[in-house]
Structures are given as C-alpha cells and as structure tokens.
Symmetry: C2
Amino acid sequence: MVDIATRVYNHRWKLDPIVRSLLDTDFYKLLMCQSVHRNHPATQVTFSLINRSSHVPLARLVDEGELREHLDHIRTLRLSRGESTWLRGNTFYGKRQMFRPEFMEWFEGLRLPPYHLERRGDQYELTFDGAWPEVMMWEIPALAVLMELRGRAVLGDMGRFELQVLYARAMTRAWEKIERLRTLPGLAIADFGTRRRHSFLWQDWCVQAMMEGLGEAFTGTSNCLIAMRRDIEAIGTNAHELPMVYAALAESDAALAEAPYRVLADWHEEHDGNLRIILPDTFGTQAFLRHAPDWLTGWTGIRIDSGDPAEGAERAIRWWQSHGEDPRQKRVIFSDGLDVAVIAELHARFAGRTNVSFGWGTLLTNDFRGLVPHDALAPFSLVCKAASANGRPTVKLSDNPNKAMGPEAEIARYRRVFGTAAQAPHPVVV
Amino acid sequence: MVDIATRVYNHRWKLDPIVRSLLDTDFYKLLMCQSVHRNHPATQVTFSLINRSSHVPLARLVDEGELREHLDHIRTLRLSRGESTWLRGNTFYGKRQMFRPEFMEWFEGLRLPPYHLERRGDQYELTFDGAWPEVMMWEIPALAVLMELRGRAVLGDMGRFELQVLYARAMTRAWEKIERLRTLPGLAIADFGTRRRHSFLWQDWCVQAMMEGLGEAFTGTSNCLIAMRRDIEAIGTNAHELPMVYAALAESDAALAEAPYRVLADWHEEHDGNLRIILPDTFGTQAFLRHAPDWLTGWTGIRIDSGDPAEGAERAIRWWQSHGEDPRQKRVIFSDGLDVAVIAELHARFAGRTNVSFGWGTLLTNDFRGLVPHDALAPFSLVCKAASANGRPTVKLSDNPNKAMGPEAEIARYRRVFGTAAQAPHPVVV
C-alpha cells in the first residue's frame, strides 16, 4: 500500500524543519537558563557563531535564504502544552519540580529573539543580542541548523541508493561502536551530541540504537525532546557559558578571580547530588583547583572537557585525595571529543578508582567521516558562544590553548589573574 | 503521519507470502518450459529438493506447518492478466512474441501440481511428481521458500535495531561490491540470484542497487517479476534440466550419447542470437565438446557453470579456434558461485579475447556471511532437480565431481558412454 496521503503531504512542505521544538535543545541549557533567569535576568549578552574549521566554507555550502527560513522557523516555536507538562511534572536526576513555576511561566511565553545574519567571505556572521535567558537558548538550535544544512547540501546531489547505502554505512559504524562499548563492564554513557549532530532523525536513531544495544549502560540523552519522546533520562548540568559571563561582569580583578566560584555558589543553592558537577577548565583547571574553596571538594564530580583527559582525571583524583575525599565516592565525566577507543582506554584506567561516566557527543551523532567524496560530511568544529556581556568581551582559556577565545589583551589579563600556567595544545577534534 | 491503514492491514496478514507470483521465477524456466511444453508435454518427471549442505538442519529450523502454508499458497497462484500481457507483448532478447500463443494459453491456465513433503531426521524430503512442464515450475519457488523460511527463523529472534543494522551491513557489503565492479571497464553482469536469495524484497533491493550503481553494465535479472516491475531485461537461456531429462529418456547408449545434442537441436529450431548459449558441463565439458556436431560451433556462446572457470573458458576458446571460429565474436557466460574477486579476475583475463558476461547468483542476493552469530544466515547449497523421467533416474556428472548426482551404477554408465575423464573436485560454494 502506497501511503498517498503522506506523499501528498510531503509535496506540500515548504520547509522540512531542522529544529521542531524549543525542547530540541540540551538539558543543561534549561538548568542554566533557570539559574540565569533567577540571578541575571537583565544581563545583556551577545552570542556569536564561530566556525573554528575555517576550511569549511559554510556560506558557499549553505544557501542564505534557506538558512534564514530555518532560523525564522525557530523564532515561531513555542513550548507546547505537552512539553510544558513534561518539564513541570517529570522527575529529573531523581528530583520532582526541577523547574520552578516562575521559570516555567516565563519559558511558556518565550519566543527566541531576533538574529543578525551577514555573509563575510565564505563564512556567515551569525549573532544574537538581548537578555541573557532568551539569547542563550539560541545556541543549540543555531548550531544544529548549520550542521544539518551543510549536510543537506552534500546529500542533495546523491542518488536514492547511494543515500540508502550512506546511511547503511553510518548505521553499521555506529552499531559496531555500540557493540564494542557493550563489552565494557559497568559502563555509564550518555548522548551529548545534539549541537553538532548530523540531523535530528539521525540523533534519534543513534539514541534508540544505544537504548537497544547498551541497555542500562546507556544513561540518557542531553536532548530534551528525544528524552521526552523516548521516555529516557535527560542528562546535563552546566557549561562554560556561566563562568564566562560571570567573569565578564566582574568589576575588578579580585571579582574576576572569584567569578568561577560565584557561579558554583549560585548552583550550590539550587542543586545537589549528581547535579553538583564542577566544570573546572574555563580558565584553566590547575588554577581553578588550586584556589577552589573547601566546600567545592564536597561536590559530587568533575567534568573533563578539554586538555588531556587522563591527566585531567588524575588531577581531579589527586585534588580530592589531598582534601581527604574518597575518589571512589566521586564521579568523573569525560565529554571532550570522545570516540570508542578513548572511551575504552579511560574506562579501563579509571573504573574502580572513581565513578566514571561519558558524555559522548559528535562522534556518536555525526560520524560520517570518510563516507562521501572529499569527506564532505565530516563533522567540524562549530561553536556558538557568549561573546560579550553588558558590553564587555568574554574570555575562555580552557585547558587547550587551541580552544581559547576572547580579545588578546583580555586573555593576557585572565591568565595573569587566574595564574594559568602554560598549556600543551591539543588538536580540536570536533 | 502513521499509516494506520497499513498497520491494520499488516495485522490481518495470516501469511507474508515469500513467492507472490508465478513470474517470481527464473526467465530460463519459462523458455525451457515452452520448449518442453512443445516437445515433451506428456513426460512424467519427479523433481526433488536436495540439501547438499547437510550441516544445515532444515527441518529443525523451519516449521513444517509454515512451510506447508507457503507451498499451499504457491499452488493458489495464477498468472494475472497484466503478467500475461507482459509475457505476450514484451520484447525479450530483442525478439517480439518470444512466447507462442499456445504456450501462453497453457501457462495462463497453469496451477502448480501437488507436492509431497515428509520430514526425514533433520531434513525435509520435498518432491513433485507429474507432467514435466508443470512440475518443472516448482523448482525456483520451492528453493526460494526454503531459503527465506530458514532466514526468517533466524531473524525472528532479533531486536528491531539489530535487524536494521543487519540489513545496513548487508547493504554496505553489496554496495561495496558494486563499487568494485564499477571499476571494470566494459563489464556485463546480470542477476542470477532468485533461487537462493535471502528474500524477495532483498533481491529486489539488490537489483535496484545494481541499476543505480552499474548503469549499462547491469544487463538485467533472471527474475521475471522483478524484470517486469523494474522494467529491465529478463535474462537466461537454458539449464541442466533439459539434457538430464533427455538423457534419462534415451532408449539406448547410442541415444544417450546423442541426448545433449538433441536438446540443443530442439533449441536451435526455436532460438537464435544471444539465446544460443551452450551449457556443456552436464556430463562433462571435455567429452561434450569433443563429440559436438559442427553446427554447434556456430552458436553464440558457452555458459561455464562448474569446474575451474578459467580453464572452462580457455577450453571454449580453444574449441572455437580449432573450428575456425573467432572467439572475439563469441560469448562466455560465467555463472558458478561468483563473487567480485573472481569476477574481476575472469574479466581481466578474458575481456578482449571474447565477449564476457557474468550471471551473479547467490553471493549477490544472499551474502549475509558472518553477519549473525554462528553464521546462521550464510547461504547454503540447496538444489531442486529432476530426479527421474518416465520412471528412469536422471544423472548429472558436471565438471565438478562434488556436484554429480544420480544412482552410482548410472553414473558409471554415463561416464562410460560420454567418455568423461577423471575430474578435479572443487568445493561447492553455493
């Protein structure tokens, strides 16, 4: 039976929307947004899209009109009643009413603010200005739209069977990875791949494959929409955006030095247990841990998101031990450019010494490397970051100098204030 | 949009039929059937299913009730009006009205005769008795049903994503083969994989992939239903069945020695051009060519279906040359257990020296080797052959003693009558 109605309906589509819900975003965005909405509702920020892979000529690959259509479509999205009910009523990290009524009311009324799009040579300049809680919600959908439009540009030239075989190959590869992960006893791994995914449907496929292939070892997805639809855990805590903006708002060097801890103090008031995860690398992990207040050693875990991951975990373990904490009661979450070989290696090295978990991102949801000519579907390093707050530039140092961002003079000042030592550069995978 | 109607319709299915049309058979069956219907309509034959891979316990894998349901379903099939119109009106091998009106009238009225099914240990004994033109039409559907039911038994235990990945892997493998074949200049290759296919839908997928991937190099399919639906060439000429039955009917050793040539004399009357293809190996190729009448050297080509294929082709070329024929005007068709490596090798060796083409069978339409535990989907060697004609046993010697069949005493007699020399055994792949 040919489904004529579906076929006719498909013909009518003007747009096959890439982002189809405000929940098609990362869970930590919502947690951070609630915190920002409470503590910094009036802070004005600018978020900018930055293509760290300048060899990918986005503006030549992606039609500007199509890009605008998708961004405009995102601005029409509002939280649906069912989505709102899920956020209000669901248990996240074992907690009921994670989202407070006043935040939910605001979120229910949210429409994303305008965007500014200009072509500059072979790249797009895409920025978002406005109140922090609104602007920050652009990050994930903006990235997802550009990643998927770039993919569609490549796929548009392929034959029907070529396409089918492309996905067959990608599925085979994903499943082989899952089969390898299945052999790791006590694994805990989540999908962190929304922002640089190949497409929504592909991410959804990957999540379902992880569910069937890994069972309990698959702890959930960072994607709220997929978590809701597939009835699994939504995963995530916080990100660099908070210390970056808090730091930019600091009125003095002393306040700047305090800013990363201020972020976590605000977080400490709201969250406990597995939501108390330190992300220490915004301005260099070593400096962060050296000056960290004692109460932070009581937090549940540390997320390692740049630099050498094994070194980062060893550093965390040493830090806990030097403060009389038992690392076996703690958690280390790896989330930087992971793929199965690294996951297996880190798991073998740290399982038993601490609780290990993995936030697997782009190489779960967008590993099409080598599958088309010129590797035109290989993932690339696109980010969307807070560039300024209340008119002041933001800075990120990271544990990998290749990931640093901000004006040179400010980077120098931050290095001085935080006492960030020289760092070994690592290639940025994705 | 969920297609509710399709879903409800699927629920209603009692049977998902494996063979859904009398045209879901090999084209050479129809050509042979027309010849048999004209020349030997009353000959009584028995066809038997033989599982040459006795390590595959068919009767343990395949439920007898289910097998009967499928065989019974095949007995309900009749040529539809559209199918009949296609057979009557289509051009095959460049010829209009390949099928004569009196044959078409008979075929339109055909229903397949009863079958006899008994379990013997871990195997089934499946036989068909009756008039040759009717019974011979059981061969392909009977094989396809058993192959697919064995596959379904394995697939029934698999999860949804496991299944999807299984097909993804099989598709990837098939496409990689096609990509390799694409590099061979001047290739001519057809699908000969109906009888031992994984399933109808899978064969149909493989054919479509060949169409897209190989373009003109893909010359067609032996499957009449797929040829009709996909609007491509139906390919095939004749098979061992004809000389086997003609030989069994021979009243004397002298008549026996003549039988293989009698088959081709009958064929000669009906067909010309690319349909004049000699299948010389039924009782040994060397003996066949040694005693062949002169008029046979004028035929278009030779099909190599057993023994060492390169040796077989060299022998054919020498035979043509020794009779003053130019091999470059001739055609060699390879069709025994082919896969890409062998195809590439034979193509490199013989292209330019003669016209080469390939009938690619089981390893096109059923290469699931190594894709499930215990290799439970690996193809195996199942055949359905004429076992007797008018009460006399049939014999096949082949160029590979592992493929010989018939009573020992008769095999010895045939060897003596045809002067078949000692042969080197080859493993039977599929």
